[in-house]
Every structure is written in structure tokens, then in C-alpha cells.
Symmetry: C2
Subunit: 565 residues, 2 copies
């Protein structure tokens, strides 16, 4: 609920004083609202408005590239005609005035009265009403304006900043409104400052489909769906309400009404964006966040605006308002480097001795062996993982080794030594496998490579033990798992230890490896046998030390198959 207030009757004015103090560098208060400081040539004045309680609508949208002024009414109450008149007069720059607002009775009346008076005084005034809410009426001209206020205001603000005349800005605004559709849902009502109870409620465990931003009746109440289901509902309904002649480019707004937070909106966007692309649409610079709120109301909406060339230009244009900033320039200068420092320097392959290059060929064969093992066992590893984890271990390992093999092969083809081949492979594994086990395997391959170096004139079994140790240390350094934690460490450390002992005892390396692999296989089986007891209740924190069970199994399979090289 709305908690902070002094005198509830003066909430709107009080908070507005704080707002004006905060943004005095870019706008100023005038009786009835706020007017942007001027920049450049005189332009058409785009005046937006409505009641308070919807920040950043409306005063948060005043600034270069956006609204020239905003009229600020009391909470959820239309501003008076006098306020509209006052703001319009203060904002007028001699090129005419657009008044734009949602299609509510009070706003229609008061903005209309102000327009009449302004015209009597010789100021050319046009009214552009926003009517995007498809749940509010069948006929377009009877629909209310909700989050679509934003797209319509934005287009007109950009059109005015681009120097269009009054006819041009009005035309662009009407085009934007015709191309904009919104559907919203509410999860809970909002509480006016000082009120004991919410202005309206939504039945527990339900959402109000199409419920208005002041609690206006919607279409119906429905049981709460999952985020994915809600995303489907919104996307389907808004796409079905597409305007005639809708093209293939859209922008989208996923708007939070107050207590539905960013993370929830991002979650919706994941599905909505996929749905829109599945519908063959290109998505241009979408916005996800709080655009038109209703105090502390729970809920959200999806707005689509179908774009032609002109609307796209105005939608993309820069804007700098307190509640919304858009700036094209720095993005254009960015370089989407695929792999940080490493990929930027990937071309510089360290010098390698002949022995290092020869061992590199063996390492590449090893990567090929691992790839075969993991592809063969992908399903099985997933099944083991599904008992205690999320069942994606096999898939993740396959993605990792495929990327690693590709990177290793490229390094080998460029005459790299064993260390660089393993380092390249490790980096690619971490990058593409995803998840914690990918990071661990990536770091482990890098650790093995570092232990070997590319500078030796010859490599002995002792060096291979050091490599296995480097591999294991990277994993224990990062994962901090120990034996008994039911991770790949259960198999890995005994493997390394067995290899070390065998080599120290003078066993030939192939036999030493086979013995160690057998140890790993036995330990992995022991760990896997524990898995059904874990069930699904494992705490999340525990999962961060690698996917349990399946990790040990995959290691055992890999080292076993590697033994045949």
C-alpha cells in the first residue's frame, strides 16, 4: 500500500515539489505541471497529462525528444482545464500545441475546455487521444489509453524534436495511436495515499484480465497462470487485435504497474519475445520496465506498436526525460567481442616447442575421444542427472566438448602447442557449455594446459601427472568440493592419486592410466548409487559445486575411453 505521505489531500502537489527539485536542471514547474527547458529551435509543444500516481507518466516524460510539458492532476484525477491551459501556454513556442492524454471522460472534458480557450487566444491546438487498451471497448475510439500513452507520446515528442510542423506531429501521433495495442492484467489493487483499504481488489489467486489502471472493469477474473502462460495469453490477444495493414516490424513494451518487479517482467519477456519472433515479427528496441504505473498496483501489460519507416525512426530517436532516457550513440560504438580478452588476442598463438606441438596432436585426439564418449552417453548422463539434478548434464557436456574440440582443432591447425590447445579448448568449453560444470571443465582443461606449458623439449609421465593435478586443482580451487560431496571430485581425486602412485612406481603410462581409470569408474559407481536418496530436495547452494553424480560418471567414462588412445 501507499505508506509515505504527509497530508493525503496534498500528496500529489507535495511529491511534485520533490520531483521538480530533483530535475530542475531539465524542467521547471509552472502552475498545473512541468515544462521542459528549451533546446535549439522553437518546436511544436507536445503537452501530455492526466492524474498523478502513474509515474513516469506523466511528468517523468518531459524532456528533450519527449513531451514539452506535462499537466499534473491529483492522484488518479484529471487535471483541471485551468491547469492544462496554464501548462500549454507556458510550453507554447509559437508553433502550435498538441494535447495528448488517455481517453478518460475527465481528461476529455478538461483538455477540451483548455483547447477551446487556447484557440480563442489564437493558438493552434490539436488533440490526439490515446486509445490502446483492447480490453476496454470493441470500438477503437471508445478504448481507454494505458501504457500505449508512452508510444504515442514518444513518437510525437520525437516528431516535434525533428522539426515537423503541427500537422506533421499530429499526423505522426494519430498514426502511432492507430498502430498501438495493449492488454493488461491486474494481480492486486492499489491503495490511495491515506486510505485504509485498496481502491479495488482482485480475488486471491486470480488475475483480472483487462482490468484498468484505476480499477476499471476488465474482461474477467482468471486463476493465476504461470509466467509462460500469461505471456502466451497477452501475446495472442494483442496479436489478434493487430491493426489492419499491420507489417512485420513491431516494438513492444512490457510494463509493470507497481509491485510486479523487473525480474518478473524479464521472465515474461523471455516468452513474449520468443512468441513474437515465432509469429514472424522483427522486434525493434523493446522496453521492459515501469512505464505507466498505478501506485502500488500489482499487474502488468503488453503493448505492441506496429512500425512503418516513420514510426520506427521516431521510436528509435533519442530522448532524455527524468523517467526515460534513450541514447543511440554509445551503443553503436560498442564492439560485441565474443570472448573478452582471450578472443581479442586469440590470433597471437604462443611459441611452442616441437615436443609441445607433438603432444598437442595427442591432446586433440584426446578431445576427439572425449567428444565421442559424451555424444554416445549424452542421454544416459542426462538420465542420471535427472535423479538429483535438472537432467541437463549430458546436454551441457556435449555442448562444451563440441565447442572445445572446435577451438582445439583450430589451435592445432595453427601449429599451437599442447598448452595453448588445451587453454583454447577450455575457454570454449566454459563459454558454450553453460552452467557451473562448464566453468569447472573449462578451468580444468586450462589448468592442465598451464601445467604442461608449451616450452618443454620433452614430456614425461611425471608431466602428465602434473597436468592431471592441474586439472583437478582448478576444479577443487573453484568448486571447493571434497570427496564425499557426491560430485565429480569423488572420482577425480582418486583417479589423480592412483595415476600419481602408478607413475611413481614406474608402471608404464598406458597401464598406469588404465588402473587409475578403473579406480575412477568404481568411485563414480559408488557415488551414483547414493543418488536416489537425494531426491529433489537438494538445497540450491549445494548444487553450485557441480551437478552431482552425473559429473563423476562422465569423468569415469571419459578417462576410461581415453585409456584406449
Amino acid at each position: 500500500m501507499t505508506i509515505l505521505f504527509n497530508n493525503p489531500a496534498e500528496f500529489a502537489e507535495d511529491q511534485f515539489e520533490g520531483f521538480l527539485d530533483l530535475y530542475s536542471d531539465r524542467l521547471r514547474g509552472v502552475p498545473g505541471g512541468a515544462v521542459a527547458h528549451r533546446s535549439g529551435e522553437p518546436q511544436v509543444a507536445v503537452i501530455v497529462g492526466g492524474g498523478s500516481g502513474h509515474y513516469p507518466a506523466f511528468c517523468g516524460l518531459v524532456g528533450p525528444g519527449f513531451a514539452t510539458g506535462a499537466v499534473v492532476g491529483n492522484v488518479f484525477t484529471s487535471p483541471s482545464a485551468a491547469q492544462v491551459y496554464s501548462v500549454a501556454k507556458a510550453a507554447h513556442q509559437g508553433r502550435g500545441v498538441i494535447l495528448s492524454f488517455g481517453n478518460y471522460a475527465g481528461d476529455n472534458m478538461n483538455f477540451g475546455i483548455a483547447a477551446d480557450r487556447l484557440r480563442k487566444e489564437g493558438i493552434d491546438v490539436r488533440i490526439v487521444v490515446v486509445t490502446d487498451d483492447i480490453a476496454s471497448a470493441t470500438e477503437e475510439e471508445k478504448r481507454r489509453g494505458i501504457a500505449g500513452d508512452f508510444t504515442v507520446f514518444k513518437v510525437m515528442g520525437a516528431a516535434a524534436a525533428a522539426g515537423l510542423d503541427l500537422d506533421g506531429v499530429e499526423r505522426a501521433g494519430r498514426a502511432a495511436n492507430s498502430a498501438t495495442r495493449t492488454l493488461g492484467v491486474a494481480f492486486s489493487g492499489c491503495t490511495m495515499p491515506g486510505a485504509e483499504h485498496p481502491l479495488f481488489t482482485v480475488p486471491e489467486g486470480h488475475l483480472g484480465l483487462g482490468l484498468g489502471i484505476h480499477g476499471e472493469p476488465g474482461i474477467r477474473d482468471e486463476p493465476l497462470p504461470t509466467a509462460e502462460q500469461l505471456a502466451h495469453t497477452l501475446t495472442t490477444a494483442v496479436l489478434e487485435a493487430a491493426p489492419a495493414n499491420a507489417g512485420k516490424r513491431v516494438t513492444a513494451i512490457v510494463n509493470g504497474l507497481g509491485t510486479t518487479k523487473y525480474e518478473e517482467l524479464f521472465l515474461l519477456w523471455k516468452t513474449i519475445s520468443a512468441n513474437l519472433r515465432d509469429a514472424g515479427l522483427e522486434i525493434i528496441e523493446p522496453e521492459v520496465g515501469e512505464i505507466v504505473t498505478s501506485l502500488d498496483m500489482g499487474g502488468c501489460s503488453l503493448t505492441l506498436m506496429w512500425l512503418d519507416d516513420e514510426l520506427e525512426t521516431f521510436w528509435r530517436a533519442d530522448a532524455y526525460a527524468p523517467g526515460y532516457r534513450k541514447q543511440a550513440a554509445p551503443i553503436a560504438n560498442l564492439v560485441a567481442s565474443a570472448g573478452g580478452e582471450e578472443s581479442a588476442e586469440a590470433a597471437v598463438i604462443p611459441d611452442a616447442t616441437e615436443a609441445a606441438r607433438a603432444l598437442g596432436t595427442v591432446a586433440l585426439a584426446g578431445l576427439e575421444s572425449i567428444a565421442r564418449t559424451l555424444h554416445t552417453n549424452e542421454v544416459r548422463l542426462g538420465e542420471i542427472d535427472a535423479v538429483a539434478g535438472d537432467g541437463d548434464h549430458g546436454r551441457g557436456m556435449v555442448k562444451g566438448i563440441d565447442a572445445a574440440l572446435k577451438a582445439g582443432a583450430a589451435a592445432h591447425a595453427a601449429d599451437a602447442g599442447v598448452a595453448w590447445i588445451l587453454t583454447s579448448a577450455g575457454q570454449a568449453w566454459a563459454e558454450f557449455a553453460g552452467g557451473t560444470s562448464g566453468v569447472l571443465w573449462g578451468a580444468a582443461l586450462e589448468g592442465a594446459g598451464s601445467a604442461l606449458t608449451d616450452s618443454r623439449e620433452a614430456y614425461t609421465p611425471t608431466d602428465f601427472v602434473a597436468a592431471a593435478d592441474g586439472f583437478a586443482t582448478a576444479i577443487t580451487d573453484l568448486g571447493r568440493a571434497t570427496i564425499g560431496d557426491k560430485t565429480l571430485v569423488d572420482a577425480l581425486l582418486p583417479f589423480v592419486e592412483a595415476l600419481r602412485e602408478q607413475v611413481a612406481a614406474g608402471t608404464d603410462f598406458a597401464s598406469a592410466w588404465s588402473t587409475a581409470a578403473a579406480v575412477a569408474t568404481e568411485r563414480a559407481a559408488a557415488t551414483a548409487a547414493l543418488s536416489p536418496k537425494l531426491g529433489r530436495a537438494r538445497p540450491l547452494a549445494e548444487k553450485s559445486v557441480g551437478t552431482p553424480d552425473a559429473g563423476a560418471t562422465s569423468l569415469a567414462l571419459i578417462v576410461t575411453d581415453l585409456g584406449s588412445l
Copy 2:
């Protein structure tokens, strides 16, 4: 509560996919988090992080001028060491890595483990822990990091973008942390995705002073104060905790935790900013909004960072992250024009006939008379208004006429005619009186001026009736009040009608005016007599047609005194 989710266990990863899709133009996902696309020369990598659920912290702060990368843990859970390591490796540009995070046990452990591993691989890593929460411990090094994360990360991001080396960025970050203090309050707990109950609660009607952003114990519970009282509490406590050698420049963050909305935060800022200025502080580019949230938690915090020249430079620097954009350039180009079109063209005074200029002298005398009347009756008008309104009518009228007289005198001194003198006076009245009655009086004076024009060779009593009509029409056009609504219209329309009748009947103008003024006085008295019945319960909407009662009285007093001219 958190309403939207699919599988609660995968909430953090799911929503992060939506986030990455949305901002793929400026950052990319890597295992464990997000890394900014590169721009320009290699720079020190500033890696921030912590659990999810705090958007825009942490992934929303990745971008040019801000963090190079963010590590994204599960909701309210530290990311794993492997995640930190992975993000740092991907973000590293060869100039070293800063790891920065709030001072929580899990973060200290996991970032620390990752730092050790990165150092083993030859990467220079520094750790800068944020410790701004003065409620969490007495000793600075034991304090938790909350919204002060933002100032510390921002300074380091700007320092890195400015090309400082690792020592320099680390030093700037430590300086920022030493200069930053925060105190927060909670009004209600937050609900984890999928949970039935909030993670913690605050007793109904109370706030938790110093309660942590994950519900960590605070100082004590207190009954809910007014916004003003809370602002005092926060400002006083944070100022008392100022660092040694604190200077006179600060920046401030008023942060909303989730369900405490922008309007409430602006209301707090109104008092906080006044308190800070009263304390002799200069406030540099404050931020009010959602900076470090906690899902749907109710609450807010005040952060101050005391600035020296270096911190001020880095605080002011541009940044372009998904959740925070700062851009100095367009603001610097703005012109804070004081009065829109009119003031910009104020120098161009329309031509006026001799008769118009002569009548202008009378108009100026009229304004002087009105000023005397209103100053004399300021207190009385306020008292009448206090019965049914907010008691500021007298004050508003005095502010209006003072500004109007000044503007009218300036126009007169510049040889303007009556129309321009009244127009200038009206614009100034509206601008400076504030409130609806100021707008109405301003429009009315303009209306009278327009009716007269500056182009007549002579003015007759019929013209003066037209001016009175123009005055009244502006008010009824905008206010839409009619007789009986208990506004100044109750006295105004009968006055104009009586004046019209008297002039039509051939009465000399002075007598006609006196008769009309007597009518106005009688009607105003009748309206004022109704006022106690209204009480304080007048709906807000009704107030928008001018402050009741007192408006009629002031009009009657003014026209009576004007009769003696």
C-alpha cells in the same frame, strides 16, 4: 508478492534469459552472468555481483561507464566461485580485475575463492567490499553493503572508463566506499518466487529501522511516521554517521526497495533535500528511484556519498547500463527559459495608439490599487479561505498581483499600450501566484487586454464593458463555474451584468462602476455566508473551479477599491 514465475527454482536463470535478450545490443551472457560489449581501449574490468532479486543491481548496472560485468546468483543467494571466476575471465581485458560486492558472508567467500584462482592464473585481482549500511554494525568493516553498492560501483566504472590503472580504480573505489553511508527502513517483507509467505514481516503500522535488504535484523521497529518525519530521521542519522573529514558536497540516493513507489520517494526527497541544504551541504546530481531493490519489499533508504573533486568527477560521468543511464551532454545544451514563448518574445512590444498608452497608465494605476487592496486584506482572505479551502487564497493573490504589477510597470515603462500591459500582468500573475486561481486571474487579465486591444484611437465605456466581459469569459471558459457554485463567478457575472446595464442606460462610468461594485459586494457576502456549511469535506474536484468563497470576496474588494480611481 512475487506473482510471476514458472519453475521457482529456475526463476533467477529464467528471468536472466529475458534480460539478456532485451539488452543484447550492449551486453552478452556468459556462464555465471553478463559482460558488457567493449568500447574503446582495454580497461580495468570492474566485476560486481551478488544474488538476484535486487534489480537494477547487479546485472542492470553493466555497460559503458559502469560495471564491466556482473555475476548473477540465485534469488538472494551469493553466486558460486565458479560463476565469479567465469565472468571475471570473460570480462578481463588484460588490465586487471576489480571484484566488488556487498559485505555478505557468502559473497566474501565465493568472490574470495575466485580471486585466488584468478591470481593463480596470473590475473591481478583486487577486492573492494561495500560497507555502507550504518545500521548493520558499529565498526565500518563489519557493515553490510546495500544501496551504497551503487555509488561505489559507479565511481569505479567511471574510473575504469577514464583509463585509470588497477591501482587507481581500486583506490577510487575504496575512497567511494569510505565516503558512503546509508540507512534504510522496511515497511513490509518480500516474497520469494513460489513461496506462500513473505521471507520476513514488519509489524502492521510499523517500520523496521535499519532492516536489511534480505530481512537481516535492524535496530528497532517504530510506529509508521509521516513522510516528513521519516525524511528527518534518515537525514539526521546519516549525517551523524558522516565520515571523518566530510566536506560540504554530497550526492544522495533515495532508493525504493520495490513497492514503495516513485511518488512516495519524491515526497521524501522534498524534505530530505531541504534538510541537506539546511545542513549547509551542496547536493550534486542526486538520484531518486529504484536502485537496489528486494523483489516486492516495501521500504526505502537514504544514501549519501561525500564528494571530493575526484569522486565528483566520477559520479557525474556518463554511464549507459540497462538499469541506469546518465548523459551530461543534452542537459548542458538546455535553455531554462523563464516563461516559454512569451518571455522569449517579451522584448517585442506591440505598437500602441496614444489612446491605448493613455489607458495603459490608468490600467497600471488599477494594478496598483489591486495590489494595495490585496496586501491590506491578505490575512482576512486567508481566514475566509481556511473555512472551506486550504487558507492560502490571500497569499496566492498577493504573490500574483505583486508579479503582475511588476510586469505591468515594466511594460508601461517601455511605452506599451493597455492591452500589452494587461497581457504581461496576466502572464506574470499566472506564473507566480500558483494554483488554479492564479491561472484564472492571469487568463482574465489577458482576456480583458485582448478585448481592449492596443489599436483604438479612443476608448468608450462600451469598450470597458467588453473588457470586463473578456475578463469574465476567460474565467468561465476555463473554470466552467456558474452562479451558485460558490466561486468568484458568483460575484463576477452579476458585476459585469450590472456594469453592462448601467452603461447601456447612459449612466456615467464612475457611477456605473460603483453600482456594479455594490452588486458584487452583496453577492460575495451572500456566498461567504454559505461557507461554514461546506466544512472540510468538499471533494477535490470541486476545488478546481477556483478557491471558493474567498475568491468572490477578493473580487468584491478589488472592484470596490478600483471605483475610487
